[in-house]
């Protein structure tokens, strides 16, 4: 009886927690301010002494270790390495960051010192992002930060980095708010969500699909994407658009796919990160819903992990298309080629876009420290504002900075943002095609294959 009562209690708490979490709003970043109480003694005419409390806000700063006392240059990395975060991508980001640090150390380090990386697992949770960043800055005394995959986590990390004034180069969070914050310390090389979404929107309009159903993950990433697509498609005159949100851990999409199958759209999209992407591709294909001659299938960018994709979807992956951030083989530079070859050799796996972005973000941060000649935050930030570097993703720089503020008619997210990330639409036209073999189908000027190959 005692066991049963305990279990019943546990399950009821579990149920309530699930319901509360399901219904609750997405976590929002919290601005952290610390309040101190200062005691002040004031003399008055009657020569009576009183004690008055004055509350004032103070800016908190970490205690930096002077350069001369540093044996190594410590930088902090963060990203999801365990569930519920997208740990497949987070693992690749950590590997790429480690690879960049090793390469730089092999080449003599930075400012004559060895670089050391401390990588924190944020688990895809905003509160963990805050804790990890706080620890990296105050306990590990890192001089700069890089990485992160999830936007919701990046937004909280950004606040901590700003509080302590630590230069941060974000690799993957796409939320416009990351750079729209206008913080001096925050830089980003991933595309903003507005820019990323627009490439797929333009493609859909170009092909001419008129009815579209998006099944997107119920996260900040999914919502931002879906909202972007719906608004952009509406602007382009495509109004028959439906959005269905799903838990990214959903095992079985079949019932909802059977429902969609009652009135098949021109294009079905499954924008679910992680294993949910493959599950939905398979299940839509097994039902005979998509990809078919009537209904095209747009997968999440996880399809870029070609080995995993084909292993998990089998023949169902043929004719699926997806958005890819990075350089297609036709426009690889020397650094891209070296990065991909070295990554595959070192980790026995194809690197995805998050890996490439983490790699370049690490190089940018360390290059800025080298250029600044010091680890002083202000100097590093100034160096980042003036940097121009060829990375695995191409030529990297930040257009809008202190000397060249974002014009009023441009969106705020362009602040400290790399404005020309390569975003392409790629379609697998054959079974077991590698990422390099699959044709780029959009934008037209970079296309290596027809706009859309139908089954």
């Amino acid at each position: 009886m005692k066991h049963k009562s305990a279990l019943n209690l546990f399950l009821i708490v579990l149920v309530l927690s699930v319901l509360v979490v399901s219904c609750g709003p997405a976590p929002t970043p919290e601005v952290i301010r610390e309040t101190v109480v200062v005691e002040q003694t004031v003399e008055v005419e009657k020569e009576v002494e009183v004690t008055k409390e004055v509350k004032e806000e103070v800016v908190v700063t970490a205690t930096p270790v002077p350069m001369s006392e540093m044996e190594t240059i410590l930088i902090g990395g963060f990203g999801p390495l365990s569930a519920p975060g997208s740990y497949q991508s987070g693992t690749q980001m950590r590997q790429a960051t480690e690879m960049a640090v090793d390469e730089i150390n092999d080449a003599g380090g930075v400012l004559g010192k060895t670089v050391e990386l401390v990588f924190g697992d944020t688990e895809g949770l905003p509160e963990r992002g805050t804790a990890v960043t706080e620890r990296l800055i105050t306990q590990n005394n890192v001089v700069g930060l890089t990485g992160e995959f999830h936007s919701a986590v990046g937004l909280t990390e950004m606040e901590v980095a700003h509080k302590y004034g630590v230069p941060t180069v974000f690799a993957e969070p796409w939320a416009d708010e990351v750079t729209a914050s206008g913080y001096m310390e925050i830089f980003r090389i991933a595309p903003s969500i507005e820019y990323y979404s627009s490439i797929a929107t333009n493609y859909m309009v170009e092909v001419g699909w008129e009815s579209i159903v998006f099944v997107v993950e119920d996260t900040d990433y999914g919502h931002l994407q879906a909202e972007g697509w719906v608004a952009q498609l509406e602007e382009a005159g495509v109004t028959d658009v439906e959005v269905i949100y799903a838990d990214p851990a959903t095992e079985d999409f079949t019932p909802i796919l059977q429902r969609i199958q009652q009135d098949p759209p021109d294009m079905l999209s499954g924008v679910i990160t992680g294993i949910g992407n493959s599950r939905m591709v398979r299940q839509a294909c097994e039902l005979g819903l998509a990809p078919t001659a009537e209904t095209a299938y747009y997968a999440s960018s996880d399809a870029q992990y070609d080995e995993d994709f084909w292993e998990n979807v089998g023949d169902c992956g043929q004719y699926v298309f997806f958005t890819f951030v990075g350089l297609p083989e036709t426009v690889w530079n020397e650094k891209t080629e070296a990065f991909i070859n070295n990554f595959e050799e070192r980790y026995d796996h194809t690197p995805g876009a998050p890996a490439m972005e983490a790699y370049d973000a690490t190089y940018l941060l360390l290059q800025a420290i080298e250029d600044a000649g010091t680890t002083e935050p202000e100097a590093v930030i100034e160096a980042l504002e003036n940097i121009r570097m060829t990375g695995a993703l191409g030529e990297l720089w930040f257009e809008y900075t202190s000397d060249n503020p974002v014009p009023e008619d441009e969106p705020d997210w362009k602040w400290h943002q790399w404005l020309t990330p390569s975003v392409y639409i790629i379609q697998y036209t054959e079974v077991d095609q590698t990422l390099e073999e699959a044709p780029v189908v959009f934008p037209e000027e970079r296309a290596t294959g027809p706009l859309y190959t139908s089954p």
Binding site: V215, F253, P255, R259
Partner: protein, 297 residues
């Protein structure tokens, strides 16, 4: 009507598989009196065992690997029970209820992180049992899922037969009803504990191996099946085999019908699990011991 039938058939197939998974948890609870919080991880290990064995022994038909995955899960369960759970029943633990929760939670975290370190974060999928789809007229269903459903049905039937007709089954039931009385007639309850835990872990591993070709495996794949199993066993009645079977089928149907018919499709899919939980709460309010739970004296 066709849509209703197609949605219902999908829910029924999934429900039978859910029942198989929940049966393992029921078996453990009814004999050992503890809830195994690492049940989902045995499911996950079944999927990985199937994938790894097939990768190592190419040419083997994927169906032959299912019993091997079950045996691997059972063996691990047996070792864990002897090392960590037996002390509870030998009165060597001061606070057995709390200990059982902590030690099974600990096993869950350990297995997830061990798998992450050993196999890596990338999803894997064993070869299909039967590639392609079967057209049932009202809907198409994948060969893998149909096979998993059919095998689950056979296994559930076999388990019922063992529980009701064999000496081992009767001994397990005796221990579940009254340990002291069972001991009087010569049944070693410690051995029955080990058998029940191994069988429960083995059933979860079999469910994992059966669903791996449909859903693929990752280190955290056991979380949802695990939560669903807890709901099923309480809905059906703690310790009731019949309750687990009916509970599994009810949850399978509710999830499927909710996603198919809820007016807002987005909420239908998003709250798929929540609908099952609502049914569960309603049943508990009306019938606190679950659908088939026996009254405790």
């Amino acid at each position: 009507m066709d849509f209703f039938l197609s949605i219902t058939s999908t829910g029924l197939v999934m429900g039978v598989i859910y029942a198989l998974m929940a049966l393992g948890l029921t078996l453990i609870y009814s004999i050992l009196g503890i809830v195994n919080f690492a049940h989902g991880e045995f499911y996950m290990l079944g999927g990985y065992a199937s994938y790894l064995i097939l990768s190592a022994l190419s040419g083997l038909h994927p169906l032959l690997v299912v019993p091997l995955a079950g045996l691997a899960g059972a063996a691990l369960g047996l070792i864990f029970e002897i090392l960590f759970l037996r002390p509870i029943h030998q009165d060597r633990i001061d606070r057995p209820d709390e200990y059982a929760i902590l030690v099974t939670f600990g096993l869950s975290f350990f297995l997830i992180n061990l798998t992450l370190a050993a196999v890596g974060p990338y999803p894997h999928r064993p070869d299909s049992f039967f590639p392609g789809t079967v057209n049932l007229g009202i809907t198409r269903i994948s060969g893998d899922r149909l096979t998993a459903g059919a095998l689950s049905l056979i296994l559930v039937g076999a388990l019922l037969l063992i529980i009701n007709k064999t000496w081992i089954g009767k001994a397990l039931r005796a221990v579940s009803q009254d340990k002291q009385a069972a001991a009087v007639v010569g049944i070693d309850s410690l051995s029955m504990n080990s058998i029940a835990f191994a069988a429960g872990a083995g059933l979860a591993a079999v469910a994992g191996a059966l669903l791996a070709p449909s859903f693929s495996v990752t280190p955290d794949v056991g979380a949802q099946p695990s939560i669903r199993s807890y709901v099923i066993i309480v809905l059906g009645g703690m310790g009731s085999i019949k309750g687990s079977i009916f509970g599994g089928v009810i949850i399978g149907l509710v999830e499927s019908l909710a996603a198919g018919y809820f007016p807002d499709p987005s909420r239908g899919l998003k709250y798929k699990t929540a609908f099952g939980l609502l049914i569960f709460m309603l049943v508990l309010l009306v019938r606190p011991r679950g659908l088939f739970g026996r009254k405790e004296e």
